[in-house]
């Protein structure tokens, strides 16, 4: 376990997004704060990684092809109901947000959020776990 400024221990995060730039940027900065991030570009890769590895938290994009973000959320929650899942999206309206919470998302966050906001949210969800 490493000790870092942002996170007190190396937490394992599965980052899922079909946009490589998002994965690159968040992978790099979360790792600097002591996380161990894994990348997936879509539902299949994510599920494959999720079933083969142990994670503390999953951060997934909502707007992947079809309803893949919510299908993934549903699959994760059916396998591990206590696994915190954060849904992020470029555009969020009330309906989208309501749908994500209905599928038991732990937090729904609009992209363009501040990094510290995400860090604080991750820590809050991990404390609740």
């Amino acid at each position: 376990m490493k000790t870092h400024k942002g996170m007190k221990q190396a937490i394992k995060i599965l980052l899922v997004d079909d946009e490589q730039d998002f994965l690159d940027v968040f992978g790099a900065i979360l790792d600097m704060d002591g996380a161990e991030t894994s990348f997936a570009h879509g539902y299949n890769e994510a599920l494959d990684l999720f079933e083969k590895n142990e994670y503390d938290i999953v951060i997934t994009d909502y707007s992947m092809p079809g309803w893949d973000g919510l299908y993934l959320l549903d699959m994760i929650k059916s396998q591990k109901p206590d696994m915190p899942v954060i849904i992020v999206s470029n555009y969020l309206n009330d309906e989208k947000t309501r749908k994500a919470y209905r599928m038991k998302a732990d937090w729904v966050l609009k992209k363009q959020f501040a990094y510290e906001e995400l860090l604080a949210g991750i820590q809050r969800l991990l404390r609740k776990k």
């Binding site: 790099a28 600097m32 894994s38 997936a40 707007s63 079809g66 919510l70 299908y71």
Partner: protein, 207 residues
């Protein structure tokens, strides 16, 4: 960070299809063939392949397709009272006065009922905006560009936040300790010095 480079192909089978249909039902989505084909064509394609047709897949998921179609018709009739072709056109022109981005992706998120009405009454969002006299190809191009610019600006800001938190501007130290971060700094700012300058300028503006 651990990267998985090889894409994993979707493994469709009857169980997966049924699970996905049940998710859509939980979301209270319109489950008619036409609607799901628009929102998740891969699911419809797989359902047809494994069950013969969309209705049979719904029945296998324990749903009554006749009831779903009747409900959809009822909903559509309700919408008929709210919208018309003229109202759609009028609303698009109003929205165009305040929204810079009229691309399909953006509008679907920000004005979903308008896009749905355009699709129902005019056939598609593309046809609807063209009926209003806009160049759809140009709109899409502009939308993509705007989104890329917004994202780039966000990533730059996140990288500066993290650079600020590092407490050192020593290029060699950062390159050695955080090679992935360093590469991103070069990618988004073209040089280490430009990134440091951007951060200093930003902090001055904040003060």
């Amino acid at each position: 960070m651990k990267k998985q480079k090889k894409a994993v192909k979707m493994k469709w089978d009857k169980k997966v299809i049924i699970e996905r249909i049940r998710v859509l039902e939980k979301l209270d989505e319109n489950l008619t063939y036409t609607h799901v084909k628009e929102t998740d064509s891969a699911l419809v394609g797989a359902a047809v392949k494994y069950f013969g047709n969309w209705g049979a897949a719904l029945e296998a998921a324990g749903l009554d397709y006749a009831e779903i179609r009747a409900l959809s018709k009822e909903r559509r009739n309700e919408k008929v009272r709210k919208w018309s072709i003229n109202k759609v056109i009028e609303e698009i022109r109003e929205v165009a006065k305040v929204e810079e981005d009229l691309s399909n992706a953006y509008m679907k998120e920000k004005h979903s009922s308008l896009v749905a009405a355009a699709s129902n009454y005019i056939g598609s969002w593309k046809k609807a905006v063209e009926m209003c006299g806009f160049d759809y190809a140009e709109i899409q191009k502009r939308g993509r560009r705007m989104r890329q610019e917004r994202e780039k600006s966000w990533y730059r800001s996140l990288l500066l936040d993290r650079l600020d938190k590092l407490g050192t501007f020593n290029e060699r130290d950062v390159r050695n300790a955080h090679p992935d971060f360093y590469k991103l700094i070069l990618l988004y700012f073209s040089s280490w010095n430009k990134a440091v300058k951007s951060l200093k300028d930003r902090n001055v503006r904040k003060d």
